[in-house]
Amino acid sequence: MEPILTVERLSVTFDRYGQGLSRTGVSAIRELSLTVEPGRVTAVVGESGSGKSLLAHAIFHLLPGNARMEGTIFYDGAPLTARRAAELRGREISLIPQGVTYLDPMMKIGGQLRRGRRDVAARTRCREALERYGLGPEVEEMYPFELSGGMARRVLIASAVMDAPRLIVADEPTPGLDARAAKRILGHFRELAEEGAGVLFITHDLELACAAAHKILVFQEGRRVDEVPARCFQTGEGLTHPYSAALWRAMPRNWPEV
């Protein structure tokens, strides 16, 4: 299957100014390659601080000003340049961010989801998107501070599906949710993949990744150390790198019997 997203040897470095005029590059992502296929969920698993969020921001060309990006990103067969990314953002590629801080605290949910459009079509789509995730029309009139954690996550997902995206990048969408709510959110991702979108699911939780993804990439200190089908983590076989093997052993169900 032709991948919808191909990342080739992506590196992200930050300029850091030391004493005087010395300038050093701190690399956050090193020569990372990955592919996301349509209709599949690809999970990127790594510890906090391993540069996972930067990967999401790099795909959207939304890295901070002091970051430098090398390598190439292909979307739908053509290079994803900054200009093309700007055109595709919010239309074909969607970001699902971590939590409620990604919503404007001074603006009602409905207005944020509609992005300033006031026509009937936008209103209907907004209502349908919320309804799909079990949120009533009253949510449109709420401000972010009035949402619970779970509601906020569902609002963020609803915002991503407003325009039938072909690539969805979900950046840690589950922390702070209880197991059932998290399961439900993962179910939504699988559903989006079944509808034909490619889903890149970034998380630190291997167990969730196993439950949701078709393919798992293990990420350590800005490098990809392993890429395996999700079932490998069921049995522990096929894990080539010691770090992923250690991760597998750390999963509670694989703890040795006492």
Binding site: L62, P64, L95, P97, D104, P105, G116, F145
Partner: protein, 328 residues
């Protein structure tokens, strides 16, 4: 509702204490002043040629023989009844003098206030959205220079440029010299108010611009701007940045009422503008206790009113306060 009542009650107590404290402080400072009211207002020579009786009557008039505590309490008792006494210099009721002075200053102060707010926010947003590039450096540099410039010096500079060299604006006063009050047109009033208003607003705008710039930078670095970009939103500045900047800008704007009134004392002095600030200087130098206390109380109330309006507007603008309050 209960919340509202509590809020109002607390504010009322606070302003009562504030006015009491401010008037007492002004009284004590004035009382400790080494100026002899007779010598300053009557003059050494005239005083020397006066009979003992006349001098005693004048001393009585300036209240020099009454102990300070009694004088203050007398003033306070009358003020509570709404009688602020008679100005010793102008020989008219204090409230009348203040009313007339305020009506002179008000237009100029409002112009300066609005101009500084609009200019400050506009420059701040411009600088904040172009961080690190030349508009930002230019605006920031300019603002730093202006805010470290004393306002009276700025006033003199403007006076020299526009009135002395270019001769396009009047050199002082609130109306042309030698014209009857009734004959002064609005245009002439505006022309006379322009330079003092400009002086005050330039200083105020620099301050507001620097604060707004920081806030704009914070908002632009926030998660929700990143997400708005990721969703392909087009008008980020209009839709999100201005919203985020609105609250701090409002606070600054209303808090600047105090600085504005303070600045007007100097600016009016330089431009010989017969406003409230100039009357305050005259009252202070001329030992006109009733007028000075009256002006102090009125301006303190104005400044307090400014921050009160900011507090109330917060509740209207910020949904977290508006809706949160409704739930209590």
């Amino acid at each position: 509702m209960k919340h509202r009542l509590k809020f109002t009650a607390r504010k009322l107590v606070r302003i009562a204490l504030l006015l009491l404290g401010v008037s007492l402080a002004a009284f004590l400072l004035m009382d400790a002043s080494p100026l002899d009211p007779l010598q300053t207002n009557v003059g050494q020579a005239a005083l020397g040629s006066m009979s003992q009786e006349q001098a005693a009557r004048l001393e009585e008039y300036w209240g020099m023989n009454t102990p300070p505590a009694e004088r203050y309490l007398n003033w306070l008792r009358d003020a509570l009844r709404g009688d602020f006494g008679t100005s010793l210099l102008y020989r008219r009721p204090v409230l009348e003098v203040i009313g007339q002075r305020i009506s002179n200053s008000l237009g100029m102060l409002v112009c300066a206030w609005v101009l500084s707010g609009v200019l400050g926010v506009a420059l701040g947003v411009l600088a904040g959205t172009r961080r690190g590039r030349w508009p930002d450096r230019l605006i920031r540099g300019g603002c730093l220079v202006v805010s470290s410039t004393p306002s009276f010096w700025l006033a003199l500079l403007l006076l020299m440029i526009f009135s002395v060299w270019l001769k396009v604006l009047p050199i002082g006063f609130s109306a042309p010299v030698g014209t009857e009050t009734a004959a002064v047109t609005l245009g002439e009033r505006l022309r006379h108010a322009l330079l003092p208003a400009l002086t005050l607003s330039v200083t105020g705008a620099a301050n507001i611009a620097l604060h707004t710039r920081e806030k704009v930078a914070d908002v632009l670095d926030s998660d929700y701007i990143l997400f708005a970009r990721a969703r392909g939103e087009a008008h980020i500045v209009c839709r999100h940045v201005l919203r985020g900047v609105a609250l701090p800008a409002l606070t600054l704007q209303f808090a600047s009422v105090g600085e504005l009134i303070g600045g007007s004392v100097l600016a009016e002095q330089v431009f010989s503008f017969p406003g409230l600030g100039q009357a305050a200087v005259a009252a202070g130098l001329g030992s006109d206790m009733p007028l000075l206390l009256g002006i102090t109380v009125v301006t303190a109330a104005l400044v307090f009113g400014g921050s009160l309006v900011a507090d109330l507007l917060y509740g209207v603008v910020d949904p977290r306060i508006r809706r949160g309050e409704a739930k209590i």
